[in-house]
C-alpha cells in the first residue's frame, strides 16, 4: 500500500496539533498513536482524492472526544513521571508558559477550532468538516477562544501581548 509513507509524512503535523491540543508531550504522542491505529482500522472509510491530513484530524478529533476528554482523574502514577523538557522557541519563557496555560484553560471544543484554524491553517470550512459542526459554530467558537485567550494573556498574567503591526 502506498498509504504508509504518506501517513508517515503527516505525523509531524499530527504531533504538532496534538501537542497544542493536550499540552503534555507524552499524552500528545499517545493521541497520535491512537489516531494512527484508528486510521488504519478506518482506512476503508477514507475517500481517495480527498485530503488525507484533514481526514486524520477528523480521526484524531473522534479519538480525543472518546478518550482524552472523558473524565479521567489524574493517576498518581502520572504525577511521578518526570516532566519532559519543553523546548522554548521564544526567548520569553514566561510568555510561552502563559500561552500554554491559557490554551489549556480553553474549553476543548474551542481549543480545537482555534488550533485547526490558527495553527494548522485549515480553512473555516475544512475545520467545520473535521469537527462535524456548522461553519457558523466554527466562527463563534473561534471568536470566543481568541477573546478568552487574549484576556487570559493580557489580563491575568500581566504579560503584554505582542501586537503585530
Amino acid at each position: 500500500m502506498s498509504d504508509g509513507p504518506s501517513l508517515v509524512a503527516l505525523i509531524p503535523r499530527l504531533r504538532r496539533y496534538a501537542r497544542a491540543l493536550v499540552g503534555d508531550r507524552a499524552a500528545a504522542d499517545d493521541l497520535v498513536q491512537d489516531t494512527l491505529e484508528r486510521a488504519w482500522a478506518k482506512l476503508h472509510l477514507f475517500r481517495q482524492g480527498t485530503d488525507l491530513r484533514a481526514w486524520l484530524f477528523t480521526v484524531m478529533h473522534n479519538v480525543h472526544v472518546n478518550q482524552v476528554r472523558a473524565a479521567r482523574p489524574t493517576d498518581a502514577l502520572e504525577d511521578e513521571m518526570p516532566e519532559l523538557a519543553q523546548r522554548a522557541v521564544q526567548g520569553d519563557a514566561l510568555l510561552v508558559r502563559d500561552l500554554e496555560r491559557a490554551l489549556a484553560a480553553l474549553p476543548a471544543a474551542q481549543r480545537e477550532v482555534l488550533l485547526l484554524v490558527a495553527l494548522e491553517d485549515l480553512s473555516y470550512e475544512e475545520t467545520a468538516n473535521v469537527l462535524g459542526i456548522p461553519i457558523g459554530t466554527v466562527m463563534s467558537r473561534l471568536a470566543r477562544a481568541r477573546e478568552k485567550l487574549r484576556v487570559l494573556m493580557t489580563g491575568k498574567g500581566g504579560t503584554k501581548l505582542q501586537v503585530v503591526k
Binding site: D29, E37, R72, M81, V96
Partner: protein, 262 residues
Amino acid sequence: MSETGQPVGESELQAWADGRLPAGRRADVEAWLTARPEEAERVSAYRGLNEQLRARFGAVLDEPVPEQLRRFATRGARWRRAAAVAGWLAIGVAVGGAAGWELHARRAPAAIAMVKPEALVLARRAALAHATYAPEVRHPVEVGADQEQHLVAWLSKRLGGEVRAPKLETEGMSLVGGRLLPGDPGPVAQFMYQNAQGRRATLYVRTEGPDQRETAFRYAREGNVRVFYWIDRKFGYALSSADMEREELLRLANLVYRQLNP
C-alpha cells in the same frame, strides 16, 4: 474615514485576523478598524496570537518522529497490533500485582511485549461493561442475588463452563446479581457487588481459548475505572471498580481468586 459598503461583522474580523478576507473586502474592514482603535487593537492581538501559536508549536514539526509512531504509520504486523491495543488502553500495567511495581505501557514500550493483547482487550471490555452498568440504579443486573442459583446455572450454561459467583462478604461486598453480555467470541458474564456504602465492583468472566496461558494479576485503568484482571484455567476474569482505590481492589481481587480456587 471612508467607510463604505456593508457593516463589518465579527466573522469578518476573525477572517481579518487570519488574513483570509477576500481582497475586495479587506480595505473596507481596515477602514472600519482605523476608525475604531479598540477593535483594531483587539483583532491585532488575535493576529498576534496566531503567530505566537505557530512560533510556540512550530518546532514540533522539526522534531524527529519517534520510532514507535513511525511503526504505527505503516501497516501493522501482529506485534504492532499488540502494541496498538496497549495504546488504546492508556493504562498502566502491573505485573505481579501484589508487588505493586508499575510500568506505564506507552512510556515503557518494553512493557508491551509482556502483555498479551487479548488480555488487555479483556480489561478494556470489562471496564466498559462496568462503566455501563455500575451506575445503574434501577436495573444494575438482569437477575438478582435472590435468585443466585438460577443466575449461576444460567450463566454457566451460556458460557459453556461452570461459572461461580465468589462470596466477598469478608471484604464487605455482597452480590447484587448478574447479567449476560455479548462478547468475543462468546457470551460474557458480569457479576455485580456492592458494599453498605453503595460502592460497587463488577466481576467480568469470559471463556478463554485453549491456548491462553494463566497469568498473574495485572492492573489496568480505563478512565476512572480500575481493573485487576487475570486468566485462570478456562476463564478470563476482570474485577473492575470506579469506587475503590487500587489497593482495596487488589485485596478484593485476591479474595475473588481464593474463592474461585479454594
